[in-house]
């Protein structure tokens, strides 16, 4: 044992265990990093898809054709007997009109 090793031994530095809370801190930090990694793994691809869809709507059809199976490839369904109804403006306060009229007549 040389003088450097004797000095380290004297200072109890050769194999001195750090306090337990350091181990807990390492475990805690690694746990957090792991959790953050899982979060990124789960949400980053989804977020990227959403962002790409927003920038380029064609991407929706190209990247996820399974979602649109039977919709994109086939002709849209036809309903020959259906008549197209144009929506009319709804009457406001329909139920109360009579009530107001009754009051007026009184």
């Amino acid at each position: 044992m040389n003088n450097f090793q004797k000095l380290a031994e004297k200072q109890q530095l050769l194999d001195r265990k750090p306090p337990q809370h350091i181990k807990d801190r390492v475990n805690g930090t690694m746990g957090l990093i792991d959790l953050f990694g899982r979060f990124l793994e789960l949400f980053v691809p989804r977020a990227m898809n959403v962002l790409t869809d927003m920038v380029n709507p064609d991407h929706v059809l190209k990247s996820r054709p399974a979602h649109f199976k039977g919709f994109v490839d086939k002709e849209p369904p036809k309903y020959p007997n259906r008549t197209i109804v144009t929506p009319t403006k709804p009457k406001l306060n329909h139920g109360n009109t009579k009530q107001f009229d009754d009051r007026k007549s009184e």
Binding site: N3, F4, L13, K17, V26
Partner: protein
């Protein structure tokens, strides 16, 4: 398991380099997180313990440099500017009394201290030191020579002068 096996040695190196137990504890935490995050980068070219020590030494030296930059200690020029014409023999360093050695190690720059600890305390070979410090063999030899020279110079200034008086 990895922590239980190496934490003692890493903690010891951190205390001897940083000279502060609390800072050494923080360093152990940082070093182990680095080790665990970079496990996949470990190549089996060097021993696993050498790889761990390289992370430890580099972390500690970086930490000291950052602290030194804040406190403005000795500049790098002072370290590099040492005249190293003559070779200092290992025996001259190894004969220094441990109390004096402790004082000298506290006075020399951390890079020199680290390289002396690797050489004499850990008994690393030059090849292992090149893996730890990521320098060429000749650069390591030169740094070691400088470190020994600095060590000897401080010893002479402090203790030989005292003996003559």
């Amino acid at each position: 398991m990895l922590y239980d096996r190496y934490s003692g040695k890493v903690y010891g190196r951190c205390i001897s380099l940083l000279q502060d137990e609390l800072m050494a504890q923080d360093a152990v935490q940082e070093v182990f997180i680095k080790i665990l995050l970079n496990l996949s980068k470990y190549s089996e070219r060097s021993r696993f313990s050498t790889w761990i020590y390289s992370i430890t030494y580099n972390y500690c030296i970086d930490h000291i440099r950052r602290r030194k930059r804040r406190q403005k200690y000795i500049s790098e020029d002072d370290v590099e500017g040492v005249d190293v014409a003559e070779e200092v023999e290992d025996s001259e360093i190894l004969e220094i009394d441990i109390a004096r050695l402790k004082t000298i190690l506290e006075e020399i720059p951390p890079e020199d201290k680290a390289i002396l600890l690797m050489k004499y305390q850990d008994e690393m070979s030059i090849k292992e030191m090149t893996e730890v410090l990521l320098k060429s063999e000749s650069a390591i030899k030169m740094r070691l020579k400088r470190a020994k020279h600095k060590c000897k110079r401080i010893y002479d200034q402090r203790y030989l002068a005292m003996n003559h008086e």
